[in-house]
């Protein structure tokens, strides 16, 4: 089971955090800080896996963003890399060549997308088409029902 996923920038700014197990805010911050430090200090050619406490960390860098997952001992590292990749593909398709800013400004979408891909720390839907279909259905409801409002 995936225990948590973190997205952070090369500058160490956390952009998205998804925890599949309950932790206190304090622990979350501690873990985040520790992992950001660890991952950012690794060199490009190094392997994408590392042992951390009793978990395995799988991370990959896409442009300026690092995607970092913590999985359990028996989980498959390579396929976790592909979960990350599939998530990136989904974001990319949805935003049209995604960049860090898209995720900052539309963070809620990034969370909704992740909920379609993964649930409770397990993969829910691996088909790109189906996930996008679900997200589009949500957006449609939004356009149908919401009338534009003024800002602030």
């Amino acid at each position: 089971m995936l225990q948590f996923m973190l997205l952070f920038s090369r500058q160490g700014k956390l952009r998205l955090q998804k925890w599949y197990q309950a932790h206190t805010e304090k622990t979350k911050k501690k873990i985040t800080r520790e992992l950001i430090n660890t991952v950012l200090t690794r060199k490009p050619k190094m392997c994408n896996f590392l042992e951390w406490r009793d978990l395995k960390i799988v991370y990959k860098r896409y442009a300026s963003l690092y995607f970092c997952c913590a999985i359990e001992d028996k989980d498959n590292e390579l396929l976790t890399l592909e979960i990350i990749h599939r998530y990136v593909e989904l974001l990319d398709k949805y935003f049209g060549s995604v960049c860090e800013l898209d995720i900052i400004f539309n963070f809620e979408k990034a969370y909704f997308m992740l909920d379609e891909l993964m649930l409770g720390g397990e993969i829910q839907e691996t088909s790109k088409k189906n996930v996008l279909k679900a997200i589009q259905a949500q957006d449609l409801l939004q356009e149908d029902l919401d009338t534009p409002q003024s800002a602030q």
């Binding site: 390579l78 592909e82 409770g120 691996t126 949500q138």
Partner: protein
């Protein structure tokens, strides 16, 4: 500012831009506080906030929270959003709740109520929102309230696929919180049959759920094996176009394949031959595909293909039954060892560790030794090098120890600091485990200290001392080597410790050589003295007093050193005390007394290496592969001193010196530490106040941490009346710790019913026991060995913790006076309610000669006492044997023989264990198979046992299978110590 998708909340986007434009942290905080004040006033004052505005503000709060700031309001508004009929408002509400609302919040009831409404909605997209929220929070309250709804959704024919997927994983989350939310029985088969579902997404989600269900109840869900095999087979044989969007970069359904392969790792090879063949064909196909040219150059293709391959290899290793597949797997991994992808090299090294523990593939793994060594030397990534170390450790055996250890030592010099300590441990373990020649062992450990002294933990140097003391043939050599090592101008403090200890014991063996005469030895050691920390100085002082005994010719020199103000007035109380005591000892006592006090250390009793325990603690996963020879050292205990530790101290037993810590390592912490030092902090200081008390195995000279010990002048005890000494002797000052020898004596009763449970100068305790069905009667005989009366005598049995409900023990009190030379009996009855693992404790206290005595023992009632033997035919036995194939039913231990491998002796032990020995059942006449039933009030638990001696390797393989895992494990652990 980038375009915002969907409806876009412009206010939010503006706010985010503002934050991003902040030049400093302070500016950001200021902007946020402004926003928080604004939102707070909106929420408070303006009653006319519409849904959109509420949504926007809640979203801003969420953003602020995710930036790392605390949010203490807005929760109620978020909950209000849940009941909005606009999807996006609901959605933001749920997101806020999932991220921010504590599961114990008072609002949770409201949230659950809203979820309940949405879950029974007719719009699937609303149901899914609710399910996602449950899965994200997964609290106990949710499991209780919503638990019944979710399984219904999952198996109902009306539910659409997307909802089923979410329901499966939502249920999984609730199940992890509270396993009762899936009623057993009715849903089982329907859940299993989701493996046959048309929709790949549903199958994938359901497989995760089934995975966890099987984890807890492999038997109940056994039906999933054949379904999983056939699903896997269909995927593996499909072409990449068949599965459409579930093919990922030309690999058909990699996620589902991996999940199915993991699911199958909960079971042994399928019993049904057709299934078994089918599965093996799948595994072969996966191995074959690995050899095909890639269909795409993209890394996603190779990653997903190899993900399946590695999982298949895991399954092959788990089955450990198809030599052909195992060897093929090993060859495949061998190719990866030199792959240009770092990830694959890393994983290949990791998987090979597992293969190294299978007898079928062990040799194949060893062929790659050179590649692994190269990896250790050339890999640029420390985590890969770490894997290489692990693999070298796993593949090491008697045939290649010297090379492997040599390479590891070589590498240690430049190894990363982060892995040095672990490497040192591994080298020490291997050197010990496979040493043929103990001089080589000594060289290796001294090398270790030389190369990586800072990383040599106490356990490592304790262990080398233990081994040298136990092996006469290596003592002279060790003395010579440490003497040489100490001559290095800069030598590590750990070297001084080892050197000091060994020369103190065996310096005489090299004293004949004028180059290492007593005087030279002493000067050499003393030249290091001022460089060392107080504990090491303490150790050296002990060495000096031993020198006085070994080399009377330098007594004067040493006394002068002890007399110097540096010692006698040392600010460190420990050192001062040692100096004072040692000086007095050497001045006042006759050489006979001195010789007795300072007699050579007796051999240490054999125990599991403390190093393995330490490695396990450091890195649990690293020792998993230790299925193989687990007993690390083959030190022969060349006399019975180890045994005698339970006997009364005799004149032949060296008297323990006063500052010795931790009375008897065997009692203090069996199987953990080398010299019993680890137990020291747990032992109260008074324990040391007993000259001569803890017999046989002291650890003199390995000093306690500074300031930890309370010293008692040996002369205090000696002067008043030696006659009192025995009276004090057995006092274990700690009223709750087990008495010395308690653990060993307990183990003596695993295969027998009568014997002596405890004996010291004052008291002897004998035991007779018999059992029938779930009842056991045990009689304790207390014998007063002195001529004095014991008053306030009491003997109570306690069943700590859970044991109280599992084993009902009655022990009526006995007369509280026990006259000199008299014997008294106590009858203990026990009824086994449920299987158990801890033993009841027996606390005895009495007053003798004016001092309170405590004896704490383990009552020899173990679960095996409730055994009844059964007989069965060979076919019955093996058919039942094969039914209990799941890992959860089995306990297996492969271990080195601790006793001579005598067939009749083993027979007696097994019968004494209480299990029925089945003769002529196993095709191999050397093996023993047994069957028995453990009788508990709650259940009768069948147990099958097989003991396979390997006389050539002096090893046993002990396998127990039982419908109850704990029983197999407990019995196996008990029995493993007996052969």
């Amino acid at each position: 500012m980038p375009t915002v998708k969907g409806d876009g909340m412009r206010g939010l986007a503006v706010f985010i831009s503002d934050i991003r434009n902040c030049k400093s942290k302070e500016a950001e905080v200021k902007r946020i506080n402004k926003e928080l004040a604004n939102i707070r006033s909106k929420f408070k004052g303006d009653k006319t906030l519409d849904g959109y505005q509420k949504k926007k503000y809640v979203c801003k709060l969420l953003f602020i929270f995710l930036l790392g700031h605390d949010i203490d309001f807005g929760h109620m508004e978020a909950v209000n959003l849940l009941s909005s009929n606009k999807y996006t408002e609901k959605q933001i509400g749920y997101l806020f709740i999932s991220v921010l609302v504590n599961e114990n919040s008072e609002l949770m009831n409201l949230v659950i109520q809203n979820i309940k409404n949405d879950i029974s909605s007719r719009t699937p997209i609303h149901i899914n929102l609710a399910l996602h929220c449950i899965a994200n929070i997964g609290s106990k309250a949710m499991a209780e309230t919503l638990g019944p709804e979710v399984p219904k959704l999952l198996v109902s024919g009306d539910t659409i696929d997307e909802v089923k997927q979410s329901a499966a994983l939502c249920l999984l989350r609730l199940y992890r919180t509270d396993p009762h939310c899936i009623p057993s029985g009715e849903y089982q088969s329907r859940i299993i049959h989701l493996l046959n579902d048309q929709h790949m997404g549903v199958v994938t989600a359901a497989t995760s759920l089934i995975h966890d269900l099987v984890l807890d109840n492999p038997d109940d869900y056994k039906g999933c094996v054949s379904l999983a095999v056939s699903r896997l087979s269909r995927i593996v044989t499909s072409s990449y176009t068949d599965l459409q969007d579930y093919t990922y970069y030309f690999v058909p359904a990699p996620w589902l394949s991996v999940k199915l392969l993991r699911l199958l790792q909960f079971y042994g090879p399928p019993e049904d031959p057709a299934n078994r063949n089918r599965l093996n064909e799948c595994l072969e196909t996966i191995l074959n595909k690995a050899q095909e040219p890639p269909k795409s150059k993209k890394v996603q293709h190779s990653n997903s293909k190899n993900a399946v391959l590695f999982e298949a290899i895991n399954l092959i290793i788990h089955h450990d039954s198809e030599p052909n597949l195992l060897v093929r797997a090993c060859n495949q991994l061998g190719q990866f060892l030199q792959h240009r992808e770092t990830n694959l090299r890393y994983l290949a090294l990791e998987s090979m560790c597992l293969l190294a523990s299978s007898e079928f593939s062990r040799e194949a793994v060893k062929k790659h030794q050179e590649t692994v060594v190269t990896a250790l030397k050339t890999e640029r990534d420390v985590s890969v090098r770490q894997r290489a170390v692990d693999l070298l450790y796993a593949m090491c055996d008697r045939t290649n120890t010297e090379e492997v250890v040599g390479e590891m030592l070589d590498y240690l010099e430049k190894a990363d600091y982060s892995i040095r300590e672990e490497m040192v441990l591994k080298v020490a373990i291997l050197a010990e485990k496979f040493a043929v020649d103990y001089t080589w062992y000594v060289d290796t450990i001294l090398n270790l200290i030389r190369i990586a002294g800072d990383f040599v933990s106490e356990e490592v140097w304790y262990r080398v001392i233990q081994i040298v003391i136990n092996r006469e043939d290596v003592q002279g050599y060790a003395a010579k080597m440490v003497f040489e090592a100490l001559q290095a101008p800069a030598c590590h403090e750990n070297m001084v410790k080892v050197g000091g200890y060994i020369l103190g014991e065996f310096g005489n063996l090299i004293a004949g050589d004028p180059r290492s005469s007593p005087q030279v030895q002493f000067n050499l050691l003393h030249s290091k003295f001022h460089l060392c920390s107080p504990p090491t100085r303490g150790l050296l002082l002990s060495t000096y007093v031993k020198f006085i005994n070994l080399f009377p010719e330098i007594k004067q020199i040493i006394q002068d050193v002890l007399k110097s103000d540096n010692q006698l007035r040392n600010a460190d109380a420990e050192l001062q005390q040692r100096a004072v005591e040692y000086l007095s000892l050497s001045v006042r006592t006759s050489s006979d007394v001195l010789a007795t006090v300072l007699e050579e250390m007796p051999p240490f009793p054999e125990r599991e290496s403390s190093l393995l325990a330490k490695l396990k603690k450091k890195k649990p996963s690293a020792v998993v592969e230790e299925k193989k020879p687990n007993k690390p050292i083959t030190v022969e205990v060349n006399n019975t001193a180890g045994e005698s530790s339970t006997d009364a101290p005799s004149t032949a037993t060296p008297v323990q010196l006063p500052m010795v810590q931790a009375p008897n390592p065997t009692a203090a912490a069996p199987s953990t530490d080398l010299l019993g030092l680890d137990a020291a902090p747990a032992q109260p200081a008074q324990t040391f106040n007993m000259p001569g008390a803890p017999p046989a195995t002291n650890n003199f000279g390995a000093p306690p941490a500074a300031g930890q010990s309370t010293l008692l002048d040996i002369f205090d005890a000696q002067a008043p009346a030696p006659a009192q000494a025995p009276a004090q002797a057995p006092a274990v000052a700690n009223a709750s710790a087990l008495s010395p020898g308690a653990e060993e004596n307990f183990c003596k009763f695993i295969c027998k019913n009568n014997g002596v449970l405890f004996e010291n100068d004052l008291l002897q305790i004998g035991v007779k026991s018999e059992s029938k069905s779930m009842y056991c009667r045990l009689v304790l005989f207390f014998g007063n060995k002195t001529s004095m009366q014991f008053s306030d005598f009491s003997s109570t049995v306690i069943t700590p913790g859970e044991l109280a409900s599992r084993l009902l023990v009655k022990a009526p009190p006995i007369n509280n006076v026990l006259d000199g030379g008299a014997q008294v009996q106590q009858l203990i009855t026990a009824e086994c309610v449920q299987e158990f693992s801890d033993a009841p404790l027996l606390n005895i206290r009495f007053v003798c000669g004016g001092s309170m005595q405590y004896v704490n023992l383990k009552v020899p009632i173990m679960v095996s006492k409730f055994f009844q033997p059964t007989t069965m035919s060979s076919s019955d036995f093996f058919s039942r044997w094969n039914q209990l194939i799941a890992p959860a039913h089995e306990y297996q231990n492969i271990f080195k023989a601790n006793f001579p491998m005598d067939r009749d002796g083993n027979k007696t032990k097994l019968m004494g264990f209480g299990i029925g020995l089945l003769e002529g059942v196993d095709p191999n006449p050397d093996n023993f198979v047994c069957a028995g039933i453990v009788h508990c009030k709650s259940a009768q638990i069948g147990v099958l046992l097989r003991l396979e001696p390997n006389k050539a390797a002096l090893m046993y393989r002990l396998t127990l299978r039982s419908s109850k895992e704990e029983v197999a494990k407990e019995l196996g652990t008990l029995l493993s110590s007996q052969f």
